[in-house]
Amino acid sequence: MMQVLGKCAGVAIACVLAASAGTALGADAADESPDTMIKNASTDVLDSIRADSAIKSGDFSHVQKLIDEKIMPHMDFDRITRHAVGRAWRTATPEQQAKLTEQFRILLMRTYAGALSRVTDHKVQMVPTRGQDPGSNDALVRTLVVPSSGDAISIDYRLAKSDAGWKIYDLGIMGVWLGENYRTEFTSSIAQGGVDGLIKQLTDKNSKLSASGGKQS
C-alpha cells in the first residue's frame, strides 16, 4: 500500500497538479501546439508556485486562486466528469450532470491543493510521443517532472481541440489516469445508489473535507 501510495501520491501529485495548472496560461494561443502549451503552462505554474510563499505555507485561499486562475481555464471539466462517470452520464438529467461536475471539481481541487504547496525545485521535461497524427483533434502530451534529487514523476495529459484551443480532459500521474481510476468507483457507487446516491456521496465527502479545513493535505 505504501509503495504505490508513495509513488503516486506524495510530491508527485503536487508537481503533477502544478504542471497541469500551468496549461491555463496558454489561453491566448488557440493554434499553439498542445506540447508547447503544456510546456509553457507547466513551467509557468511551477514558477508562480515558487514565487508565492503563501502557497508554500499551505494557505488554501492562495492555492485556490492559483487553481481557478491558471488551471481551470485549461481543463474541460465537463468532459473530465463525463469521462469519470461513464455510461450512467447519458441517463443523468442535466441538473444531475451539473451537480456531479461541480462536486467532482470541488473534490479534486481540495485533494490536490495540498500537493501544490510541496513543489520546490522541480523542472518540466517533455517526453516525445510517437505515432500521433498532427492533424488530429486529440492529443497525448507526456511530461516528466524532475526534482533536483530523487525520482522523476511522469505526468501525461490527454487534450482535445475545441474552438477555445486545446483543453485537458484527462490526466495521468505515474501512469495512473484520473478518469479511469474514478470510473470504477463512480460506477459501483451508481450501481448501489443511483446517480443521486453518487451526488450525495460526493457532497458529503466534500463537506467533511471542508469541515476539516482546506489546509490539510
Binding site: 505504501m2 501520491a9 469521462h83 485533494t111 500537493a115 525520482d151 495512473v176 470504477t184 459501483s188 456521496q201
Partner: protein, 293 residues
C-alpha cells in the same frame, strides 16, 4: 543459501495471517465484492487491506513519524540512498532479463559510482550526473515476457500486488543483497529499518488516499493495476477501450467494463492458475471469484 531463513520468514507470514484472520472481521466488504473481473478475491483482499491499515495506524506510521522526528534530514536521505543503492542489484538483474542493455549498464554504473564516490551509497552522485534510477522488479520482468498480471492480490504488510507480482516477490527476495546478510538476525533488522524508512517518506502523502477516494480500497487497487500495466509497457500502454459518457465515442457497444454493475456476480471465475494464499483465514474467503452471497 538462505533457504531456511526464507522458510522462517514464511512462518512469519503465517503468523501475520493468523492475526489477519482475527482482525479481518472488521473489514467492511461491500455487496457485490468479487464481481470485478480484475479482483475476484476481493473479499479476501479487503480483509488483508484492513489488516494492513490497522497495522499501519497502530505501529508503522507512529514508528515512522518518530523516526522522521528523531533522525535529521541529511541522515535520512543518506539511508534512503543506501537502500536504493542496494536495490540496484535487483534492478540490474531484471533489466538484463528484460533485454535492456542500456538500462542494465546504467544500473551497474549507478551501483559502481554510488558505492564508491557516493560513499557506500550514502549520496546519489550518479543522479547528479544524469544517470537516473530505473526501478525494476521481477513482476515487471514477467510482464515484459508477456505473462498477464492475473487477479489483484493484497499482501500482508507489502500491500497491493497481483498474482504475478506476488510470485515475483520470491525472485526479488533472492536478488536482494540484504537476504545474504549474516547473521540472519541482522537482515531482519535491515528489513524492518527499510520498511520504516520507506514509510517515513510517505508521511506527507498520508491521508491523500482517504481524501481523494470514495472507496480507498478500490481506488488504490485500480491505481496499482494501471500503474503496473503502464510500467510493463514502459509508460506507453495501448489505450484500453473506453466505455464512458463522452459523446465522441458514439454509441458504445454494451460490453461490461471492469467493475461495471452489469458484470454478473457468480459468473465463472476468470482466475488463471493461482496461488492459494497460505493459511487462508476463514472458510470461503480466499475462494476465487464473486460467488453469490
Amino acid at each position: 543459501m538462505n533457504l531456511p531463513s526464507f522458510l522462517r520468514r514464511g512462518g512469519a507470514w503465517c503468523a501475520a495471517f493468523a492475526c489477519l484472520s482475527w482482525l479481518g472481521g472488521c473489514a467492511s466488504v461491500p455487496p457485490g465484492a468479487g464481481s470485478n473481473p480484475k479482483d475476484p478475491y476481493e473479499k479476501f483482499n479487503r480483509q488483508v487491506y484492513s489488516f494492513n491499515d490497522h497495522f499501519d495506524r497502530a505501529i508503522l506510521k507512529p514508528v515512522a513519524t518518530g523516526y522522521q522526528q528523531v533522525v535529521p534530514r541529511g541522515l535520512r536521505d543518506c539511508i534512503d540512498n543506501a537502500f536504493n543503492n542496494i536495490g540496484e542489484v535487483g534492478n540490474f538483474v531484471n533489466s538484463s532479463l528484460q533485454l535492456k542493455p542500456l538500462d542494465a549498464a546504467s544500473d551497474v554504473g549507478r551501483l559502481a559510482i554510488n558505492s564508491t564516490i557516493g560513499l557506500l551509497g550514502c549520496f546519489d552522485v550518479a543522479n547528479g550526473m544524469g544517470i537516473r534510477r530505473n526501478k525494476q522488479d521481477f513482476g515487471l520482468t514477467m510482464g515484459k515476457w508477456g505473462i498477464p498480471s492475473g487477479p489483484y492480490l493484497v499482501l500482508p504488510i507489502l500491500g497491493p500486488s497481483s498474482v504475478r507480482d506476488g510470485i515475483g516477490e520470491i525472485p526479488d527476495y533472492f536478488t536482494d543483497p540484504v537476504n545474504y546478510v549474516t547473521p540472519t538476525l541482522d537482515s531482519y533488522e535491515i528489513y524492518v529499518g527499510r520498511l520504516v524508512e520507506r514509510r517515513a517518506q510517505l508521511l506527507d502523502a498520508s491521508g491523500l488516499l482517504d481524501q481523494a477516494a470514495l472507496d480507498p480500497y478500490a481506488f488504490l487497487r485500480d491505481a496499482y493495476l494501471q500503474r503496473r500495466r503502464s510500467r510493463v509497457y514502459d509508460g506507453n500502454p495501448p489505450r484500453e477501450q473506453d466505455d464512458d459518457g463522452d459523446e465522441d465515442d458514439g454509441p458504445t457497444p454494451s460490453k461490461p467494463a471492469a467493475g461495471s454493475p452489469t458484470a454478473q456476480p457468480g459468473g465463472e471465475s476468470p482466475a488463471p492458475a493461482t496461488v492459494k494464499p497460505q493459511a487462508a483465514p476463514e472458510s470461503g474467503d480466499a475462494k476465487p471469484a464473486g460467488a453469490p452471497q
